[in-house]
Symmetry: C2
DNA sequence: AATAAAAGTGAGTACTCACTCACTACCGCG
DNA sequence: CGCGGTAGTGAGTGAGTACTCACTTTTATT
């Protein structure tokens, strides 16, 4: 875990305030929500899995939905935070001379986090279409900032002439599709296949760089 | 709609057998499942939306789950069928001389279908994690055949030297991510943005072709 | 027109749901 | 020790839940 992650951890993490039973409730809820979905999971079931009375859940969370939110909200902030928080000049000029460096750093940086939070992210993606507040919360407090920042970053590398001059949103879409597509197949669709992660990331980044290279015509170099 | 699509339509479509009320039930169920999710939708609600008594639903479908299946199963067969059914030699040698032709044909061919079935596909994707039978049905009867066929196709163009010699499954992943990523942003995430579809498909296909071009080093041609 | 099968109905059934509340157990503080 | 506050309990509540069934209406067949 990087220093930034630790900082973010401290900023948003109130897990220290939680009682043992509360932690058990959260763990049980995450387990069940991920396995059967929010709607198909009963509070009784969560209570049993946590080894706790049903009333205890409602002592800490007014409604079942509040329980869902308390799982999902801190995760999405933690997931997006590094992109927003990092000093942009540092990122662009010092740390990552090339767009490829930047992409590789991003993948490295977020991999561990994703790995440890597959279940919560699964819940988040599953439930987003059915809870408008969740979508709004995401768009207003996270999504828009992330996209603004991403646009700055793409623009920077475009001006440096490192990547093709397509509309910025198209570049974001193509880059996002490629990286998210890798993570989804790696951790959601085929998590049990034997992956050579280093090789796959390498292929993926090369593909991305070649695809986004400036100029339309390509010639093999012998 | 192509001739193949019509053929498939006739092969799998039993909509002619359905009564007016049954069609209304299906339409109402699709609407509600897509909007609120399968678990959060009650049969009473579906009946009301369809203007039908609750008992009528269970006259035609033994259980609520059977209703879900009757919506989702024919769709996934129709979605995948063209890839399986088409005469492979015709596809590879006659119709599509280059991999780019093949990709463009695929996007064109499936766009209309996707557009007309967004809701059902949404339901399918939402529910797949929670219904093992659905996943098995998909993998055994559709998934494996599609992947076998896709592997043949990729292999063919690799041997022709048109695309890079990465592991076939990696090529499928990269191609799939790019195309599915386009369709998902186009029809699920930002369906209301004003899209220049022709330009977007063009950028996407170019990106894919450049990314999968043989050889590791790229040089701009002036 | 007679008859049988199929389609449609809606009140009823057993059960589950999220959530409440009166109560007990434990904790730190004087 | 006494007191106040928080944590934990589990039986209880009314509003649903998927599904059934005895019955009526429509449709097809002769």
């Amino acid at each position: 875990m990087t220093k930034e992650d630790q900082m973010i951890e401290e900023m948003f993490n109130h897990e220290g305030d939680l009682t043992e039973r509360q932690k058990k409730i959260l763990a049980a809820a995450i387990e069940s929500f991920a396995e059967k979905g929010y709607s198909a999971t009963s509070t009784k079931e969560i209570a049993q899995k946590a080894g706790v009375a049903e009333g205890t859940i409602f002592r800490h969370y007014k409604t079942k939905k509040e329980l869902l939110m308390s799982i999902v909200t801190p995760m999405m902030i933690k997931l997006m935070a590094p992109i927003i928080i990092k000093d942009i000049n540092k990122v662009l000029n010092h740390d990552h001379e090339t767009f490829e460096d930047f992409i590789r750093a991003m993948i490295d940086n977020r991999r561990k986090f994703l790995k440890n939070n597959v279940k919560i992210i699964k819940i988040f993606i599953q439930e987003i279409p059915f809870h408008p507040e969740l979508k709004e919360q995401f768009m207003e407090h996270v999504g828009s900032k992330v996209f603004t920042r991403l646009r700055q970053i793409i623009d920077h590398y475009q001006e440096k002439g490192q990547i093709i001059n397509l509309p910025i949103d198209t570049v974001i879409r193509l880059t996002g599709s490629t990286i998210i597509g890798y993570f989804v197949t790696r951790y959601a669709i085929l998590p049990d296949a034997d992956w050579d992660d280093e090789a796959e990331v390498d292929s993926t980044v090369r593909f991305l760089m070649k695809g986004l290279a400036p100029g339309g015509v390509i010639r093999r170099v012998h």
